[in-house]
Symmetry: C2
Subunit: 463 residues, 2 copies
């Protein structure tokens, strides 16, 4: 047998102990957003540090102004082939409310069968304790069988991912030299479905903006002033309506600069996916895809930019009626960005677009709400090709190169501060109930997840 | 001297006593909206009833579920020429908050000089106690000099005008026979300016409607669903934007049915008015007339229909930002109506207009918020011609036939329930601070107001 096969066999032979360690980690009530669980967060960090040290990854628990970071470096000093990777995960979890919707204690994990599938139920099993352990357990098996890891490995676990990561940015900046490696590996995403592995290679960026229109210097009586007095709700509605044309495209000049169509290979892969667009919309009570004409629902969510209105307010919105012409009206909007769209250029373009549509005697103010470019890995990126191949060998299916509608801020921060790309490989499933009662992680996700990382580590070592 | 001249001389000779009676009425703290002042409302009603009885108008105070009505009929049984008129006013007043902005006790009226003009300051001096007394004092003078009024007169004073007149409609219905006369005279409006009398002959009607758009069955994450999921704020903005074309005209099919251009005579009168459109907008911090192209600001407010948005709400509008796609968004809108616009037909047309623009998988609900047609008196209406002439004789200036942007519900109710037109003659001025601190009524408004009613009563008696 090759070393790889030996390591995989070791994983299989020791899966019960791996599951025990997962249960141990889940038992820490490491709810980061609630100060009552501060000690539990610290204990989870200590536990992880001890475990990493026990397998020869020299690890310390590092204080921050919030919950601590766990930072480890493989103590094996030998020069290694392939990239030096920094593996990222988070040991904190979401709160458990509403607790009465849980079938059992969220912090007393049990393995049970659900719809014919073996799962471990408990808060954090999927997000992100089970997932981060897939990597740790892969390293443990490698070390046990081969004596050392095939590539250089460093580790970063944070404890504030579920509460906005306030300490992460300063920590990355303060420890730039220590943490800047060749490639980040992140295990906090999902598979395409229970049989089909995936690497998330496209994350949409985000541009958030608030528009405040002021017309008259006070609220007016619509009988006394209705007609000649500018109405800010009318001005705002017109601006918002103008932001899309009748085909659903955004009309801000330059909006699509940097947006690329899918490569034929990815398009073919996505077109072949058993994605149930009807069910996706049906679940939320809709049936007609909105958005840009000519793009599939799956493509719209994962690879197309949007301009969505997240909130609007102006005038009287209580019960009954008030014949008022408001002084102010405002809207919050956010653009999801893809490809090379530049959020800062787009903010400027959006503001110019709005200003052009505000009457000379009215005022517009803007409030900035964040800007992050999209993240994408080229299909030609060598680690991605190796990762894809490794996953295919484990799952006997092509790994899907997925997009993700939302943002994962860490990916942008690793790129901006540490100069690293991130490869996002995860084994979560849509029905894992993350952030909800009865969160679970499939035993198959965990077991084959560990095996997948063994194969990825091995593949990355190949030249 | 003619009788008319004798009556006018009597008014002049007794103006001090008339002012004393005005001060007495103002002293009652008849704030109708605040239950703490219930007894004060009753006392004001009793006082008026006593005063009317003392001049031979047989009057009773009639209970309602709210504040009482004062109803009087001239006891002079002789057959009279001209129309039998019902004079309407209200003895209740607005609250006085913020009390610290008053220079003196609002219910201890004083005569003082303001900007070189003698005024009485106090809550209700202008709205509507001083105004309604102009008519009572005119009757008093006529009775004192001539022994009887020249035409048949009935009186209706209500005590709930400032709190929505909840008892008025049932009272009119229950006393239809008693109150249905030939013509209503209403003294609750203003002059064009301090020198120029006016009769308000056009009141805009009102159609109130709330539109509620529901898209998905719950609020969505804009990253996960942005693009293919319908966004109700987007749908609503588009509908609102569609409601006006680029010339400011309302685009609802049939909206302008029944809207007539001004008669050349009124247009000429209005064009000649010293109305300061720039100052009107400047006061509220604006300078560019919005609304329909091709109409003056004055005409837009007084004689053109509008469709104004009074409130809008949807999604997240708190501090900061939330990347949500709301399930619901709603807007309140109101159309001011003129001429023969039919509010019920327009509501139907508006709803059809909206429904056409709601995607098949989204829902729209409507909430009705009132419907009242516009009111207008034809310039050929004989009492109007007589009233105009009487005012010209008193003020030595043509009375302006004014429009009024707001609604006076009583006018529609008199028409619908009692079958009477209303002639609105009043002597209030824009700077009277009605509903505000330091409300006042010019002594000239009061004195020449009384004289004006003497002349109107006399003119209406002429064949």
């Amino acid at each position: 047998m090759s070393i790889l096969e030996d390591v995989l066999a070791h994983v299989d032979a020791n899966i019960e102990q791996s599951l025990d360690r997962m249960a141990t980690l889940v038992r820490f009530q490491s709810i980061s957003t609630d100060p009552a669980y501060k000690d539990e967060c610290r204990k989870a960090a200590d536990y992880l540090s001890d475990e990493l040290n026990s397998i020869g990854i020299t690890t310390t628990v590092r204080d921050t102004t919030g919950h601590p970071m766990v930072v480890g470096h493989d103590s094996d000093e030998a020069a290694k082939p392939g990239p030096h990777v920094l593996f990222y995960g988070h040991y904190d979890v979401q709160p458990v409310d509403p607790i009465d919707l849980w079938d059992a204690d969220p912090f007393d994990p049990k393995i049970e069968e659900r719809n014919g599938t073996k799962v471990m139920v408990g808060r954090g099993t999927s997000d992100d304790k089970g997932q981060l352990l897939t990597f740790v357990e892969a390293c443990r098996a490698y070390k046990a069988v081969a004596g050392s890891l095939p590539i250089a490995v460093s580790i970063l676990f944070e404890g504030e991912e579920e509460s906005g990561s306030p300490s992460l940015l300063p920590f990355l900046n303060e420890n730039k030299d220590e943490l800047s490696k060749d490639l980040a590996l992140v295990c906090d995403t999902g598979m395409f479905n229970a049989d089909t592995p995936a690497i998330t290679t496209m994350l949409r960026g985000l541009l958030g903006e608030e528009i405040v229109i002021t017309a008259a210097n006070r609220d007016l009586h619509s009988g006394m002033y209705g007609g000649p007095a500018a109405n800010p709700i009318k001005i705002l509605s017109k601006i918002l309506a103008d932001l899309h044309d009748e085909t659903g495209r955004v009309t801000i000049p330059g909006f699509y600069d940097g947006v690329e169509e899918l490569s034929p290979a990815i398009k073919a892969q996505w077109d072949a996916l058993p994605f149930d667009a009807e069910g996706f919309l049906g679940d939320i009570g809709l049936s007609v895809p909105a958005g840009e004409d000519g793009y599939s629902t799956y493509e719209m969510i994962n690879a197309r930019p949007t301009c969505e209105f997240n909130g609007i307010t102006g005038g009287y919105s209580g019960d009954g009626f008030k014949t008022v012409i408001a002084s102010k009206a405002s809207a919050k909007l956010s653009c999801r960005l893809v490809g090379g769209q530049d959020p800062h250029a787009l903010r400027k373009a959006l503001r110019a677009f709005v200003r052009e549509r505000v009457p000379a005697d009215c005022q517009v103010d803007f409030i900035e709400h964040g800007a992050a470019p999209a993240h994408s890995l080229s299909p030609d990126f060598p680690p991605l090709q190796k990762g894809t191949q490794a996953l295919k060998e484990e799952w006997n299916k092509d790994a899907i190169l997925m997009g993700m509608g939302g943002s994962i801020p860490i990916v942008g921060e690793f790129k901006d501060i540490l100069g690293m790309d991130s490869m996002l490989i995860g084994f979560a499933l849509d029905d894992d109930n993350i952030h909800s009662p009865n969160e679970k992680y499939n035993i198959t996700s965990y077991h084959k997840g560990i095996r997948s990382w063994v194969r990825v580590l091995s593949a990355l070592a190949e030249s």
